[in-house]
Amino acid sequence: MSELNTSPAAQQKAADYVKAHAAIGNEQILARLQELFGADTFSDVEEQYGLLTATVSREKIHEIIDVLHGEEQLQLNFLTTMCGVHWPDNEGKELSVVYQLHSLVNNIRLRLKIFFPIQDPVVPTLTDVYATANWMEREAFDFYGIIFTGHPNLIRILNVEDMDYHPMRKEYPLEDGTREDKTDLFFGR
């Protein structure tokens, strides 16, 4: 059980696979990023299952993705996906947005994260760089209440318009927490 649960072997296997198949290695991507934006821009750099992940500040995220969109060496010019995450225990950095970029030419991927307090959930929009960011940002607003400044039409997209809360935040449990008929002493709910 223990060897499966820590799974360093799986991490290593995925990392080796990415290294063997990508034209540009993760070290080179990181070196290029630091050359473009400065070494201290990227913190918490890690390779989760071979995918280069870094945390940046929300003030810089627009500039980074905008510059990478036109950058010719890495060609990270495809926004694969983007989503919000809520970390209620992370004091001062409760909300997060995760961006995932892909280069269809070099077949490299990059995951960028930003963290910010839940009282001030304001992030610059990417709609001026990627048309596809429009609905992704509306979804993050709908689910987490993240406000994207400069977005042309920031309204709810999947939930009804008169909903007055943001349902993917962790304080809204999926089931009614007051129900007692479904409580299971041994396994919890």
Partner: protein
């Protein structure tokens, strides 16, 4: 013009007044804006093939602008997934793109296997490839068949739906269900391909090419069909990439991005196949790309069936793969594992995984954050439909209503995947 103001205020134009006004408009183009009709296309309309609404501003039959509204069948899968053990999330993925459920199922299993570090045996990988390619064929058959219906030709649709039915019978033989398949498990398949399933598959592989050729003979060079689809709803490669298009819709615009080739999973590197691309990104190109992908999928299935390796059909991962039922009744360890897996009492390692597969409509991605518990901390689905459907207004502005309908059907927007 008092009458004009009254017309604008209500948003509706009396027929006679409109006629009169058109007479005036020929000379006074500045007044163009007063002659617009608001047309509510959807949410339930037979031609939208799903529940989504478009509020179109029409000038006569020409579309001036469109505002899509989605979310009518939003079921909060991402929220529900945060409370469910991994194997219970598979049925949720069925209900995203329900035209090709097995691809969604396998994509999810592979994501979890990546997180857990489970190596799936070759035979299971090949069976998965066969099932995924069958699903892709079923998906494309629905899309192209319905495109025929929307252009006014019903017979092609009926031919193809018979074959889709045969594919569903193969599913039934492999996993027991047809539409929402819940096929396979984390670690492999739940059972091996039975002799009946193999027999049905071989019969179908012999029978299908003739039907497909007949369908293509009816449509490919059909003057009416070509006139209705060429240069309808086009999108350039540049705009398509900016809009995050993937799958057949992106390939129709001329970009040869296919997850199966770029990031091979489940042994796709073993097979010899080509990626068809279009040039104009219009409805006709999307139709042709899907047809050619069906032929390429057939090639893959034939190769997989020919080289189907012997061996186990699931990985040796007792913590995650259910033991055989007869063992559960006789063997203490099997009973314990069965119990723990069913009750979701087995924790997964902490980590973040992104895994993507080539779904029927494009890159179907699973971004899974695990905090080491029994359920995902956060699960985000990258749903290709959701991402490319936002380009729809841009693709139909300036065209007629009838063109907008076939653009929609050729994009193959599946409401379940759109709303998740």
């Amino acid at each position: 013009m008092a009458t004009n103001d009254a017309l604008t205020a209500t948003g509706h134009i009396h027929h006679e007044a409109a006629q009169q006004q058109r007479g005036v408009m020929v000379t006074k183009t500045e007044d163009f804006g007063t002659d617009l009709t608001t047309l509510n296309l959807g949410p339930t309309h037979p031609a939208t093939h799903g529940i989504f609404q478009n509020i179109l501003q029409m000038d006569g039959e020409k579309i001036i602008s469109g505002v899509p509204t989605i979310g009518y069948i939003h079921r909060a899968f991402e929220k529900i997934a945060e409370r469910r053990p991994f194997y219970q999330i598979t049925p949720l993925t069925d209900r995203m793109n329900y035209c090709s459920s097995p691809i969604n199922n396998m994509g999810w299993h592979m994501t979890v296997e990546k997180l857990l570090g489970i190596e799936v045996p070759k035979r299971a990988q090949y069976i998965r490839v066969i099932m995924m390619e069958l699903a892709r064929i079923a998906d494309h058959l629905v899309c192209n068949g319905i495109l025929g219906v929307d252009t006014g030709a019903f017979s092609g649709f009926l031919y193809l739906f018979e074959e889709r039915e045969n594919i569903y019978e193969i599913y039934e033989e492999v996993c027991g269900s047809r539409l929402t398949t819940n096929m396979g498990r984390v670690g492999g398949m739940e059972r091996d391909l039975s002799p009946v399933a193999l027999e049905k598959l071989r019969t179908w592989l012999k029978r299908f090419p003739a039907v497909m050729r007949e369908f293509q003979n009816l449509f490919d060079r059909n003057r009416i069909f070509m006139d209705r689809t060429i240069n309808v709803g086009p999108i350039t490669a540049e705009r398509a990439l900016n809009y995050g298009f993937t799958g057949p819709n992106l390939r129709a615009a001329g970009v040869d991005y296919d997850v199966r080739v770029m990031n091979p999973y489940s042994s796709y590197q073993d097979f010899d196949f080509e990626i068809p691309v279009g040039t104009n990104g219009d409805t006709y190109d999307r139709y042709l790309v899907r047809n050619e992908e069906i032929w390429q999928s057939l090639r893959i299935i034939n190769q997989a069936l020919e080289n189907l390796p012997e061996g186990p059909y699931h990985a040796d991962a007792p913590h995650y793969y259910l033991p055989p039922k007869q063992e559960v009744y006789r063997n203490m360890e099997a009973l314990i594992y069965h119990f723990k897996i069913i009750m979701g009492e087995i924790d997964a390692p902490a980590g973040e995984v992104y895994h993507s597969v080539e779904g029927g409509n494009g890159e179907l991605g699973f971004y899974l954050i695990s905090d080491g518990g029994r359920t995902p901390y956060r699960l985000h689905f990258r749903r290709p439909c959701y991402i490319y459907y936002q380009a729809y207004p841009e693709m139909v502005v300036g065209s007629t209503l009838s063109d907008a309908i076939i653009t929609l059907s050729s994009m193959n927007v599946i409401a379940g995947e759109l709303d998740a």
